[in-house]
């Protein structure tokens, strides 16, 4: 699933109210009464999702910024994107 989505462009799903605190993010969805919390790196991934960059491009950019963790990022970015999408917080185009 993650590999198939590498070329797709994730973007924030509507309906979420975003609050940022110390680099971490809280996402509130009033209609589903759901709250999501992600740490600093999850927040970075979230913010890079603008519907223009592919999931692969997001991972590459982060790998360039954190080369020591390149392999880890390559594995984790698709997972966190899928997690956001599974919670309805991200959509794909």
């Amino acid at each position: 699933m993650a590999e198939k989505r590498a070329a797709k462009r994730p973007y924030p799903a509507p309906g979420y109210h975003v609050e940022e605190l110390d680099g971490e993010i809280l996402l509130f969805n009033m209609s589903s009464q759901k709250i999501l919390h992600t740490n600093q790196t999850g927040a970075l991934v979230w913010k890079l999702c603008n519907g223009e960059r592919t999931a692969e491009e997001i991972a590459r950019l982060l790998q360039a910024a954190y080369p020591d963790a390149a392999a880890q990022i390559g594995a984790e970015v698709p997972l966190i994107l899928d997690s956001f999408a599974a919670e309805g917080a991200l959509a794909w185009r």
Binding site: G23, F28, M30, Q33, K34, I35, L36, H37, T38, N39, Q40, T41, G42, L44, V45, K47, L48, N50, L61, L62, A64, A65, Y66, P67, D68, A69, Q72, I73, E76, V77, L79, I80, S83, F84, E87
Partner: protein, 169 residues
């Protein structure tokens, strides 16, 4: 000593960090995580009081009216308690309830306090503003009654408590 490849990597990394900072709205590179850690996503449900924003149910303007006392072994007096409500959710409609906690220091004190839950109070208005009323029977000539009122709307939200006095008749 820095090798050319290492220098290229550093420039590339700096450029990537600057790009990320610009894209994510970070005001400085120092605002970005210094090192990568596994992204974590936790989920939960909004607490009830935060499920609509804002969500307030306020009652005010306690008042009462008395009815015709019935005759009987223990004389009582029907008293209708009325309050005004303001509900941001517009949920004070059929299915809302009114709670009255009645107390007295008069002759009937041993029988009190009493809690009366009216599951079908008289409601006027549009759900956002209006009045809620409930009629209870109070024993006569026992001294003043204190009545503490709360209203719960159809979302389960309970109002502030409002206290009023019904004088002895």
């Amino acid at each position: 000593m820095t090798t050319p490849d290492k220098k290229t990597d550093q420039l590339s990394r700096r450029q990537a960090l600057k790009t990320i900072a610009a894209l994510t709205g970070a005001t400085a590179l120092s605002a970005l995580p210094g090192r990568w850690s596994s992204p974590v996503l936790k989920t939960g449900a909004l607490p009830v009081h935060a499920q609509t924003s804002p969500n307030t149910l306020v009652i005010a303007n306690f008042r009462y009216s008395t009815g015709q006392p019935p005759t009987g072994e223990i004389p009582t007096e029907p008293v209708t308690i009325t309050v005004d409500y303001t509900d941001s959710a517009g949920a004070v409609t059929t299915g809302s309830s009114m709670r009255l906690v009645i107390d007295t220091s008069g002759d009937a004190a041993p029988s009190y306090p009493q809690t009366i839950d009216d599951a079908n109070p008289t409601i006027t208005g549009d759900g956002f503003t209006g009045t809620v009323s409930s009629t209870v029977n109070l024993e006569l000539a026992t001294g003043d009654f204190s009545v503490t009122v709360t209203v719960t709307n159809t979302n389960g939200l309970t109002s502030n408590s409002l206290m009023g006095t019904v004088p002895a008749q």
